[in-house]
């Protein structure tokens, strides 16, 4: 009898659920219809009409979750994105650019020898926990990052960006950070560093509340406390991060919304569905394939992030014949970049000539790209001793994951494979899983040519040229194992030079050397796409991905 009754119950329950489902949905359709088209566009099906009228919550949909909320210990963009809303740095990038402007520091002075930077701090700023922001807080943070024995460096933490921007322990750029008085802080350097201000403005060097770090210890990475426009409220891992308005924010009139929720929605199509269904207001990483749907929907808008990246094919100098410059140049001549852009980027990219994007200062316009010219390619191969093309198939590593600078690496690799076939170069495409991919290319034993890319961290050419192509970056980001002493000297000199015009000249020379040596085939600079509701205003996407949600509002 038991089975009978429980089954009957289950059946009835199911029927009730189903019927009530239809009823509730009808109601929803009704409210949407009566509140007008604007409300229908901005309301999630389950929201009340009131929420639609005064939308004060922003819901952002992105592909991944943060790894940690303490910006000092992470290097991934998803983590820094949240940190940027919770923390302020001494300086910041002007919205939409990589130009430096004042933030927590109102003004600064540099000594003639370039060794002393004196910052005047904005008075009266408070951390979210109510404690005062002052020079001591700045000293505390910088000491925490630089002192390897700091008691506030918790188990497993490493301050990677501090080490890479200001030198690892043993060769630190910053010698000392001093609190002169409550609102004056002085940085004394061991040697001049040209991109110093650029570096200080990075989100990783956001100033955290010393009191909160002392109190929360390890848990600070889950409950960050800064001075930023939004106050951290809740983190549901792999689901959402909720931020509340900092009503006492020191920048007047900001933030404009009461609440920001950042959701992780891994699938690109599902994320776009959620935007169309009104469940999120702003989405990142729209796939170029969805562009036409987006443009056909008047309730949505397209947002373009300024291009600040490069994707490229790198030659592995450890493998013959790619140590031969003629072979590298020949393959450069045999890639039809424009065809790739038309086919796979929906036009949202430009052909790359140099290893850094044209929007960055120091970019060399005079450098001429290797045109798509199969005859020249064949001639060069013949000069290199391969008149019939290369004898062995080339192993081309194509990225298994989608990145802002390369949405579909495998398809692009196939197009290049077809081009190279025409000059007698056979290609085998391999796409091992991402972790293995990074390992293999770093070891340089398996791949002949690899595909990779880079998004700039700050607005300095050093962050492209030195980081990716200098001999110091082996092993690491220089996966070509490309060594050119002349280039190395240029890049090191450029780091020490403080006059930007002279630095710019040095970087221009560097780009010429790189073009001639052809360690890479620079492919494209992409314009990453975002999509939002049409009535979302005041959002300025940053080139580095560092951006503020504080200026966003709904019309």
């Amino acid at each position: 009898m038991k089975t009978w009754s429980s089954l009957a119950l289950a059946v009835t329950l199911g029927a009730v659920l189903f019927l009530s489902g239809c009823g509730g949905n009808n109601n929803n359709a009704g409210t949407e219809a009566t509140t007008g088209s604007n409300a229908a566009a901005t309301t999630a099906p389950e929201s009340s009409p009131e929420a639609a009228a005064t939308q004060d919550t922003l819901i952002v949909g992105r592909g991944g979750d943060s790894a940690s909320l303490d910006p000092a210990i992470v290097t991934d963009g998803e983590s820094l994105k949240i940190a940027h809303q919770v923390f302020d740095s001494l300086l910041e990038y002007k919205p939409g650019t990589s130009e430096v402007q004042a933030s927590l520091a109102d003004s600064w002075e540099v000594s003639a020898d370039g060794l002393t930077y004196t910052f005047k701090l904005h008075p009266g700023v408070k951390f979210h926990d109510g404690t005062d922001f002052d020079a001591e807080a700045v000293v505390f943070n910088f000491t925490r990052w630089s002192d390897p024995a700091s008691e506030f460096k918790f188990e497993g933490d490493s301050f990677d960006y501090y080490d890479s921007m200001f030198g690892p322990d043993g060769s630190r750029v910053i010698k000392e950070v001093k609190a002169v008085d409550a609102t004056t802080v002085q940085f004394i350097l061991n040697q001049p560093q040209a991109p110093f201000l650029q570096n200080i403005a990075m989100t990783s060097f956001g100033i955290a509340s010393p009191a909160a770090i002392k109190e929360k210890k390890e848990n600070f990475k889950n409950e960050p406390v800064g001075t930023g426009p939004y106050v951290f409220k809740e983190w549901k891992h792999n689901d959402s991060i909720t931020l509340d308005k900092n009503s006492g924010y020191w920048k007047e009139g900001l933030p404009k919304l009461n609440k920001v929720i950042v959701r992780s929605i891994p699938d690109n199509s599902a994320r776009f569905n959620a935007l169309q269904n009104g469940e999120i207001d702003l989405m990142e990483d729209l796939s170029p394939d969805d562009l036409s749907t987006l443009e056909g929907n008047t309730e949505l808008q397209k947002i373009e992030r300024p291009p600040f990246n490069v994707s490229y094919l790198g030659f592995n100098f450890k493998k013959k014949p790619f140590d031969n410059v003629k072979v590298r140049q020949a393959l450069n001549y045999a890639v039809n970049k424009q065809a790739i852009i038309d086919a796979f980027f929906s036009g949202q990219a430009t052909a790359a000539v140099n290893p850094m994007p044209p929007s960055l200062w120091g970019y060399n316009d005079a450098v001429k790209d290797y045109d798509y010219d199969l005859d020249k390619a064949k001639a060069l191969l013949a000069e290199a001793g391969y008149p019939e093309g290369l004898p062995d198939p080339v192993t081309l590593y194509a990225m298994p994951v989608s990145r802002p600078y390369m949405p579909d690496g495998k398809k692009v690799a196939e197009a290049i494979q077809a081009d190279w076939e025409k000059i007698g170069v056979k290609t085998v495409i391999e796409s091992p899983e991402w972790a293995t991919y990074l390992d293999d290319t770093k070891a340089g034993e398996k791949d002949d040519i690899y595909m990779l890319g880079w998004t700039g961290d700050n607005g300095d050419p050093d962050n492209f040229l030195y980081t990716l192509l200098d001999k110091d970056a082996i092993p690491g980001n220089n996966r070509s194992f490309y060594v050119n002493e002349e280039l190395h000297t240029l890049l090191i000199n450029a780091q020490k030079e403080t006059d930007q015009t002279k630095r710019s000249d040095l970087y221009k020379q560097a780009q010429e050397i790189i073009k001639a040596d052809a360690p890479w085939i620079p492919l494209v600079h992409t314009t990453p796409l975002l999509a939002a509701k049409a009535n979302l205003k005041g959002y300025v996407p940053g080139p580095t991905g560092t951006e503020y949600y504080s200026g966003i509002y709904f019309e």
Binding site: G14, A29, A44, S47, T57, H237, N238, D267, N277
Partner: protein
């Protein structure tokens, strides 16, 4: 009965140990440097080396295994490399999300599947029978990914009936106590919220439940057909018992045993295999938790996650076995 239960629980121990050995060996056979994956392309060589040492990744794997087992026996499920949070604490919300989704999916699969199977058998070779079995056939071979996106397209984008992603309306969040939102909202007496949470459950549970639903329908049908032709059913019919009672009371009870096995096995399979559904519907469940751990080489999370799922799977099987006895008094465990 009690001694049987005890015996079954003791047998669990070597099963679980075997499980840890297999999982541990497989994970460590995967190429790829966890330090690089965790810290990212932009990390310095120094900090990667430090991380390897700190995690004991530079030690031989046998030693790593014994360290892991030692911790496990002390009740320490390990710490996630990526988030640096204890797994025991971290996994609860994920587990709850998956349990809720699996329960809803199995409820859907069982109610629809069993009833379709019964009606199919009752009206064998009728149009209903044919339609149901054709749908079941399509259901078994339906790619979850495609089904999920189609559901979103139809019920969310075109009809605006249901939300397409997530577990709740983020603009009006649910306070979580047990992390099972259906229960949380009932405890709090928030009926509006309960309704919202249930609406969020509908699309993903249909996507996840379609395959088991089809399997259950086919199993129930064939099992019912067998029972319906037996003597005692003929007797019941001859006594003039109403058809409905014959089918739902007398026949179903005996036909249910093989169905129960399928339900148990499918529930276990869904627990671990929900990755696709969880990805499409942005459902923060344990499938995605383990998946993300795999792509970031978060060894402790992969190990513990799989172990917990294996444990639940085994427990479900145990429950199914016990239910046999409850349904059929002839089955007696000694």
């Amino acid at each position: 009965m009690n001694s049987y239960l005890l015996k079954r629980i003791i047998v669990l121990i070597p099963v679980l140990i075997g499980m840890t050995i297999i999982v541990f060996s497989i994970i460590h056979a995967i190429p790829g440097d966890p330090a690089e994956t965790i810290l990212g392309q932009k990390a310095t060589e120094q900090s990667k080396q430090a991380l390897r040492e700190q995690l004991g990744l530079d030690k031989p794997w046998l030693q790593q295994y014994f360290n892991y087992m030692g911790d496990l026996l002390q009740g320490d499920l390990g710490t996630s490399i990526r988030t640096k949070t204890p797994i025991a604490k971290e996994i609860m919300p994920y587990l709850a999300a998956t349990l809720e989704l699996t329960a809803a999916a199995m409820l859907f699969a069982t109610i629809v599947g069993v009833n379709a199977g019964i009606l199919g058998a009752w009206r064998q070779n009728s149009w209903f029978d044919y339609t149901a079995m054709i749908i079941a056939l399509i259901g078994v071979s339906m790619p979850i990914f495609w089904l999920g996106l189609m559901e979103q397209l139809l019920f969310a984008l075109k009809l605006h009936w249901l939300p397409s992603i997530g577990r709740m309306d983020q603009r009006n969040p649910v306070e979580s106590i047990t992390h099972l939102y259906v229960i949380d909202t009932i405890i709090a007496g928030q009926w509006g919220q309960l309704w919202t949470v249930m609406k969020h459950l509908i699309l993903p549970s249909i996507a996840l439940g379609t395959i088991p639903m089809a399997i259950i329908a086919r199993m129930t049908r064939s099992s019912m057909l067998e029972v319906m032709n037996s003597d005692y059913i003929r007797t019941a019919k001859a006594k003039g018992m109403p058809q409905f009672l014959v089918v739902y009371k007398h026949a179903l009870k005996n036909a249910l045993i093989p169905v129960l096995t399928v339900v148990g096995l499918q529930t276990g399979a869904l627990l671990g295999g929900a990755v696709l559904t969880e990805t499409i519907f942005a459902w923060p469940g344990v499938g995605r938790y383990i998946f993300e751990a795999i792509s970031s080489r978060d060894y402790p999370v992969i190990q513990t996650g799989i172990l917990i799922i294996a444990f639940i799977f085994v427990v479900i099987n145990l429950i199914v076995d016990l239910l046999y006895a409850a349904i059929d008094p002839r089955i007696n465990y000694k």
